[in-house]
Amino acid sequence: MNDQPHYRFPPASAYRLNRCLFALKSDDGFRARFVKDARAAMGELGLDAADAAALLRGDRDALLARGAHPYLVFMADLRLRMEREPVSFEFF
């Protein structure tokens, strides 16, 4: 595992999962719908049950194992936290 690159070619099998993470990162409307009803939002993008379960658990390792791009996992999580805790920035 240590010899694996940190950023790997994103497998086509993970396209929908990465599409969902991309939308959570960059699409304010989608992120708001996800916060309101995550299952319905994931349904819009056709995520399968295993992807949806990993995303709902926030299980980074499972998401990476399913082909998610590490940066997208990281930023989707950050943007969701920014949405839920907007006062946690600009401390100085």
Partner: protein
């Protein structure tokens, strides 16, 4: 004319200032950015060409350009409550695309793509007053396979020739770096020694060494974004770096550097 050259960190924590960051460290990087801003004002630049790696904001897996040029009238991006809009120097952007293609670089161009924070974090702090139009240049760093550092260096050499032949006073800025591993197990342990060795080489004017580094090494060292520096260095040849700051935070090697082209 190519009148100035800079490399700037762009980690969004410099802008958003979350409580996880070392306040004094962030303010030292801000002070280095302020020096860049004053230099850009002293150089009386007409335009700023900025090369950055889109963080899967403008370019998702639907279309993954290796090298792209923004050739619209303006560009805009948002990150939470931060919103930016910049005019593009259209004649300069167009000549970069046309002459780049003439020189053998099969460039992607866009007249309407969102702007990533990799562009506007440094611009937030360094845009001279009065503000100047920009030309955003994208190098793929996050979606493998990325262009090799050598290819980036060659593209930078062509860019240097194109910029030097232009009538405008242009500054060239690379955004990104140094070592960091967002989204991986290495996030809290960057390769600071690698950064310091590289900065020593750049201070000696050995920028061309970055062209010989492999993509595998960049990935291993948390420095996939240094493809933007390789692009800049291609335009600079053996110019010696003036390192304004190198500030290693708990997750990121923050560097601000100037070269006299």
């Amino acid at each position: 004319m190519l009148v100035g050259a800079f490399a700037c960190a762009h980690t969004p924590q410099l802008l958003a200032r979350p409580g996880t960051e070392d306040r004094d460290l962030v303010l030292r990087v801000h002070a280095a950015f302020a020096r860049v801003k004053r230099r850009l004002e002293a150089l009386r630049v007409d335009a700023l060409a900025i090369v950055a790696g889109d963080h899967v904001e403008a370019f998702f897996l639907d279309a993954v350009p290796a090298l792209a040029v923004y050739v619209g009238t303006e560009c805009a991006g948002t990150f939470g409550r931060y919103r930016y809009r910049f005019p593009i120097h259209e004649p300069l952007a167009r000549s970069i695309v046309e002459q780049g293609v003439e020189r053998g670089f099969d460039l992607f161009y866009t007249q309407q793509a969102p702007l990533d924070y990799a562009f506007y974090v440094p611009l937030h702090f360094t845009m001279p007053e009065p503000a100047v139009p920009i030309v955003p240049l994208h190098v793929n760093v996050y979606l493998p396979p990325q262009p090799t550092p050598r290819r980036c260096y060659e593209w930078g050499r062509a860019l240097g020739e194109i910029l030097r032949a232009r009538p405008e006073r242009v500054a060239f800025m690379a955004s990104g770096g140094m070592s960091h591993f967002p989204g991986t197990d290495r996030y809290a342990s960057p390769e600071f020694e690698y950064d310091r060795r590289l900065l020593d080489a750049l201070k000696d004017g050995r920028g061309r060494e970055l062209a010989a580094v492999t993509g595998e090494e960049l990935d291993k060292m948390g420095n996939i974004e240094l493809r933007t520096w390789a692009t800049l260095l291609g335009a600079l040849g053996d110019a010696k770096a003036d390192v304004y700051c190198y500030e290693p935070s708990w997750h990121h090697g923050n560097a601000v550097v100037e070269w006299v082209p």
